[in-house]
């Protein structure tokens, strides 16, 4: 292949949307920075937080679409996911969810019983989060144009915490915590999709985190930043925080909680658990002298029992995240590229 041919392959990659553009990793970033921000960018959007904090600082707005397959998976379904995802995106920005807007895109031929199950699960999750579905929309597309149910939820929340939660607030010495074991959600879904014949105790962790986060912010106001490690997993959040704050971050692999059955599943699926999605976990960055208090508060909540201190912000400015490995080595932890591709053997 000549260099010219290789350039044309690259141009082709640049001219089309590929699945990997939706993976939440480096290619998603590139799509946002090269196509979206130049056209739509403004001071709020440019912050690229999980919610937009509206001018005035008192209201937060967030939106997310859900296209998961299978619609039902161990531990949850697309309905619960759609509520929790948006509630959590508000909560990590310090906002109390006040209302959810729900948009359903249904495919012709969908069994009504499936929709009923999903709607029931939306109701239960919303009750759990203490928020109502206050408006909505329904569309139906022809067979083959959708995949059963696509859901979009938007959420509005009131920002009640006084401090600014932002990567630019992070400074050397700050401590990173995670509220529990990683990778259960992504692995449960992948296993249900790719190996339905395999039975496992693995269950998605999908849950609304707003109550736990509100308690944390009340008891430990020295929290400086939070993010829920969804697509791209813990690796994505840590690498992104290092890049955006500019400070190096070191995570301690031995401290990162992970269930044994998740390790097995990741091994079988050829995936790195650090890069796998969570839907009921939050990464918290807190001033060092309040790390233990934050840990105690998280662990006192049922959703945070397995919380751990997992890393620290270093006084070094390369914007890199490093992992101190189980055997005491060091290696880079970077944002995944995009689509999760299993290894060959």
């Amino acid at each position: 292949m000549t260099m010219q041919a290789s350039m044309s392959a690259r141009q082709r990659r640049e001219s089309q949307i590929m699945l990997a553009h939706g993976g939440g990793g480096q290619l998603t970033d590139e799509l946002i920075s090269s196509l979206v921000l130049p056209r739509l960018g403004n001071a709020v959007l440019g912050d690229l937080l999980d919610s937009g904090i509206l001018p005035g600082g008192r209201l937060a707005l967030s939106i997310d679409s859900y296209v998961v397959q299978p619609l039902q998976f161990p531990g949850g379904d697309i309905g619960r996911l759609a509520v929790c995802g948006t509630v959590n995106d508000l909560a990590v920005c310090g906002a109390t969810p006040r209302g959810i807007a729900l948009s359903l895109i249904l495919t012709e031929g969908l069994e009504k019983s499936v929709l009923e199950t999903v709607l029931d699960s939306i109701r239960l999750a919303a009750e759990e989060a203490g928020v109502g579905v206050v408006t909505g929309d329904t569309k139906v597309v022809g067979r083959g144009q959708g995949d059963g149910i696509f859901i979009t939820t938007a959420g509005v929340g009131e920002v009640e915490c006084p401090q600014r939660l932002h990567p630019d607030q992070v400074s050397p010495g700050d401590v990173l915590l995670i509220s529990g074991a990683i990778a259960d959600h992504g692995l449960a879904v992948m296993l249900a999709r790719e190996m339905p014949q395999v039975t496992s105790v693995l269950r998605s962790d999908v849950a609304p985190l707003n109550a736990m986060i509100a308690q944390l912010l009340r008891e430990v106001p020295q929290v400086v930043f939070m993010r829920d490690p969804t697509r791209g997993g813990l690796a994505c959040v840590a690498a992104d925080l290092a890049a955006r704050s500019g400070w190096n971050i070191t995570l301690d692999e031995a401290a990162i909680p992970i269930h044994e059955h998740a390790l097995h599943a990741a091994e079988m699926l050829g995936l790195d658990p650090l890069e796998v999605a969570n839907e009921g976990k939050v990464v918290v960055v807190v001033r060092p002298e309040f790390a233990d208090a934050a840990l105690r508060t998280l662990q006192s909540h049922p959703l945070g029992r397995e919380a751990r201190i997992i890393g620290v912000v270093e006084n070094q400015k390369d914007g890199l995240c490093e992992l101190r490995t189980l055997i005491g080595g060091r290696r880079i932890l970077q944002k995944p590229y995009g689509e999760q591709l299993p290894r060959i053997c």
Partner: protein
């Protein structure tokens, strides 16, 4: 399945072997290089941080062990070409999706409308063919002796089910001829092989005896956990320090001397050895596997009359040198600038088992850093 050892016991086992590695290293009296010929060793040595813990005079080079990386450019173009045929669904392992050919990759072909599916096993492809009889399902099969038995089983199962819409586009390779070709080339200077655990399960440890005897090089078979790789490297270092040439099996709970006879018979039943093209190594005699004439019905090259393509490798790309231990990924001018995991030029940057991707992903800033003993 056995439970994985707890974090602390993994740490202790690994540390014990790393300490032995460091204890033996000063006795070498010179720098030595070992070569791993297995993609899983490549990626796990980086992912576990083992590279950052190596003694200064011991280095680990990547050999031709990543299945995607050794697949010739012509084979990759053939795989992409077949997706443009009518009613074809191409199934393959995940790592193949992003390898760039002359006109894009399977990923770009898929976004342009080609039917491309990632499967976990060859049998998944057979099932897809069974459930979609109006489609021609082509399984692009790559890999060494580890994945070949599964391809053989898939072909036998497709025949048993009477499927006329399932074919295999095989680029299976044999590891021993590649190791021999590498050593015969005289261009690579290594002091021993870290031999692949998975391949050895099928071949048996004795398969590597010829390398050990003919080239007077120590060979150590190791598993894939951090402690197992550290064990393999420690034993190689000790063998060289003692001046001993030997074949050692550090994975003996899994690998037997003669290997898995059933798997070997299945390979032999469906495939026959042939001269095939390798990236960087060119045509190596009797180094690959093609379907036997008895299974021609299941050969995609026959079904679709695919012509062998002679495609040049990407200009400036040194994947060939990387997988033959002649340079490290960082020595390639494209590395990290024109070639990154997001925009890869060569297959070693595409495959998660490729040396370039592992180096870029886990190690790139360690280039000039010395090991820090803990």
């Amino acid at each position: 399945m056995t439970a994985p050892p707890s974090a602390s016991s993994r740490y202790e086992q690994s540390r014990a072997w790393i300490d032995r590695l460091h204890a033996a290293a000063p006795r070498l009296g010179r720098p030595v290089s070992f070569m791993e010929v297995c993609g899983t060793h490549t990626v796990n040595a980086f992912r576990s941080g083992l590279h950052s813990l190596m003694p200064e005079n011991v280095s680990l080079l990547s050999g031709p062990g990543c299945p995607v990386c050794v697949t010739s450019q012509g084979d990759i173009d053939q795989i992409i070409e077949v997706t443009s045929r009518p009613r074809v669904t191409l199934c393959t392992y995940g790592d193949m999706i992003r390898v760039t050919g002359q006109s894009g990759s399977l990923e770009t072909a898929r976004s342009a409308g080609a039917r491309v599916k990632v499967v976990y096993s060859a049998m998944d492809a057979v099932n897809i063919a069974d459930q979609n009889r109006d489609q021609q399902v082509v399984f692009a099969a790559v890999g060494f002796e580890t994945t070949t038995p599964a391809t053989a089983a898939a072909v036998m199962e497709a025949e048993r089910r009477g499927l006329t819409n399932f074919t295999v586009l095989a680029s299976h390779k044999l590891i021993i001829p590649a190791m021999q070709a590498l050593l015969n080339s005289g261009k690579v200077n290594i002091d021993g092989f870290l031999c692949p655990g998975h391949v050895s399960v099928i071949l048996g440890s004795e398969a590597f005896r010829c390398i050990c005897d003919e080239y007077s090089l120590p060979c150590v078979i190791a598993g894939f956990e951090d402690a197992e790789i550290a064990c393999g490297l420690a034993r190689l270092t000790e063998l060289v320090a003692d001046g001993t040439v030997g074949l050692e099996n550090c994975y003996a709970n899994i690998v037997s001397p003669r290997g898995n006879r059933v798997a070997q018979m299945m390979i032999d039943h469906v495939f026959q050895p042939a001269d095939v093209v390798w990236r960087a190594l060119g045509v190596l005699p009797q180094s690959g596997l093609v379907l036997r004439p008895r299974y021609a019905l299941f050969d995609a090259r026959v079904r679709f009359e695919l012509r062998r393509m002679e495609s040049p490798e990407p200009a400036g790309c040194r994947c060939g040198d990387v997988i033959t231990g002649r340079c490290k990924p960082g020595d390639c001018k494209l590395f990290g600038s024109a070639c990154t995991p997001v925009y890869p030029v060569g297959p070693c940057m595409v495959s998660s088992e490729g040396a370039c991707q592992a180096w870029f992903k886990y190690h790139r800033h360690h280039r000039d850093r010395k090991a820090v003993p803990v």
